[in-house]
Amino acid sequence: MITTAPQGSTLQRITCPTPITAQGQVQLGHGSGGKMSARLLRDRFLPRFSNQYLEGLGDGARIPVEGSEVVISTDTFVVSPLEFPGGNIGHLAVHGTVNDLAMMGAVPKYLSAGFVLEEGLELDVLDRILDAMAEAAAACGVDIVTGDTKVVDHGKADGLFVNTTGVGFLKGDFRPSPELARPGDSVIVSGPLGRHGMAVMAVREGLEFDADIRSDTASLAPLVAALRESVGPHVRCLRDATRGGLASALNEIAQASGVGVVLSGQPPVPPPVEAACEMLGLDPLYVANEGVMVVFVAPEAEGDALAALRAHTVGASAVAIGHVVPEHPRMVVLRTGLGGTRVVDMLPGDQLPRIC
C-alpha cells in the first residue's frame, strides 16, 4: 500500500499509478520462452483449444492425414533490428519453422508465409529479406507455396513481422518427442551457444558494441536426417534451443519426461559470446540460438550420434554435455568445476542484465 503524507501534501490522493493485478496486461516477459510464457499457454491458450495434438506441446503437431501422419508447425518472427550480423528476419522465418518440423522428426516440405508490413518500410530492406527467405528455402529443400501480406500504419509494427507455417513428412518410425527422455540417456548439444542472441544484442539501438559475433541461424534438418539414418531408434528427444536458450529447452524436456538432467560442466560458448555476456551480466545458457539443438539419445548411441552430427558444418562442434537421471525430476542441475551443484532453472521472464 502506498500511503500519503497526511496533511499539506500536494499528493493527497496519490495511489500507485498502476493498481493492477499481477496478470493485468501482457508483458514482454510473456514472450521470453521462460516460466511466464509457459504459464500464459497453460492458463489461457491450452484450456480453450485443448485437443490431443496440442497437448504434446511439441515444436509442432503430428496430425493424421489419409491413414498416415504429417507434421505441421507454425512460428511468428519479430526481431529488432530486422537485419543483424549473420542474417536477417527472413533467414529466421524459414529456418525457425523448418527446425520446428525437424525437431518433430519430420522432413520439412512446404511453407506458407504471412507478412505484416509497416508503412514506411524501405523496399530495399524488404527485398533483402525476401531474397534471404528464397535462398534459405531453396537450401532447405522447401517450397513457399502460399502467403499473405497486410500493411499497417506507421508505428503499428516494427518494420515487418512474418509468420511461417510448415508441413513436413515423417519417415519410418522416427518419432522423437519431449516426453521420451529416460534415465541414462546422453544429452548432446549440436553447437556452441549464444551466438544469435548476442549478435542481435550487439546491434540493438542504444546498446551497440563491437563484437565479432554472427547469428547462428541455420537449418537443423540435415543434422536430424543424419541422426535418423545413423541412430534413429535411439533418438529420444530433439529440441532447438531458441528463445530462453539451452536452459529452457532442457527444462522443457525434463518436465515433459519427468526426469532430472545433470550437466557435467559448462556447455561450449564461443569466446566473443562469453566476453559479451560477461560485460552485460548475462548467462549464455539463457541466450537465444537459431541453429543449435539438444539431442537426447540412448547412452549406447552417443558416439554414433556425435559422429553423425559432426559430419555437418552446423554440427561440427557437437558435444555431449550431460545425462538424464531419475533423481530430482523436472529439474536441471549443473555440476560445477568445484564439484558443487547449481540449479539451472527456467527464468520467470526475460533475462535482465545485473548491476552487481
Binding site: I2, T4, C16, G24, Q25, L28, P271, R342, I355
Partner: protein, 371 residues
Amino acid sequence: MKYLSEYRDPEMARGLVKRILGTATRPWTLMEVCGGQTHTIVKQGINEVLSDAVEMIHGPGCPVCVTPLEQIDRALHLAARPDVIFTSFGDMLRVPGSECDLLQVKARGGNVRVVYSPLDAVEVARRNPDKEVVFFAVGFETTAPANAMAVWRAKELGVSNFSVLVSHVTVPPAMVAILDDPDNRVQGFLAAGHVCTVMGWKEYEPLADRYRVPIVVTGFEPLDILEGIWMAVRQLEEGRHEVENQYVRSVRREGNQPAQDLVTQVFQVVDRGWRGIGTIPGSGLGLTPAFAAFDAERKFGLEGIHAEESPDCRAGDVLKGRLKPFECPAFGSLCTPESPLGAPMVSAEGACAAYYNFGRVQADVPVGAAS
C-alpha cells in the same frame, strides 16, 4: 577468456577447497558482503563444497535487494508519468513495489528503458528535450562514481530535463549494523572488491579492530572467493582480526582518489532506509545542495509517497543472517521467485531465491554427493 579463465581454474579451486577444509578446526560463519560474490558462490556451489568448514551468510550487498520499497514505489510513480522516460539498470525492473514492478508499468505504456551506463541516460535526455528523463541511481560505492559522473556531466552540459532518483547505500555502516545486532553470528567478512577498488580499505581498519573480526577484501571469481575465505579462516584459526587484501590486482589501500573526489563533490552522506532492515544512520548518499536541481524527488515532489513493507516478509532478518531463508514462514508458499514478497527472492542470486533453488535439489541429492 583472458583475465577470467585464470581465476576459474577448477584444479586450483579444488586445491583451495582442500586447503580451507584442512585449515578449519571448527565451523566458522562468514559473510560475503557483495551480491556479485553471492552470485559466484551460488553459481559455483562454493557454499555446498565448504559446508563442513564454513557457513556463508549472504550479506546485504545486493543493491537491488536493499533498495527500500518506498524508493521503488517512487520509481513506479515516475515511470508511469506520460512526460517521463525512466531509465534504470536492468535488474531493478522486476523488483516488486507495493502494487507492481517497472516491467508492469512498461506494459501499461510507461516509457521504461534499460541502460548500461548512467551516461547513456544523460544522452537519452539530450535526445529527448521535450521529455523528463530520470535515472534510478542505485548501488553501493561501486556505482556511485559513474552515477555522480552522470549528474556532473548533465550539469556541465546544462541538461535540465535530466534527474536522478537516488537510493545509494554504503557498506561500512551496514557492517556496523550487523555487528551491533545482539543476535549477530558473523565472525568474519569478505569485503566487496569493487567497492574497495573505489574506496580503498582504510575505513575497514577501525571496524576490524573494534569488533575483532577479520575482513578480507575479496574479488569475484571462484579462485578469488576461495582464497578470500581461506585468508579469513586462517585469521580466525590464528586468532587475528585484520584487514587483508586478496584482490591485489585491483585494490589499493587508498582506493581511487579521483573517483572519491567526484563522489564527494556530487553526493553527501545521508540516513538511508534499507529494505527489510530499516533506516541505518549515515548509510546512504544523497545529492549535495550544488546538484539539488537534479534530484528527482525534489523535482517531482515525491516526498509524500510512503510505503509499508509486507508484514509477512522477513527479508531484514535474512539479510542480517539472523534467519535462514527457509526458516521464514512465507518461504516457498507466499513467496516464490515468480511472485516474490521481498527483494532477496527477486534475483536468482538473492539469498532467498538461491535457497529456493538449492533446497529443492538438496531434497534429492545429499550435500557433497556431487562428483
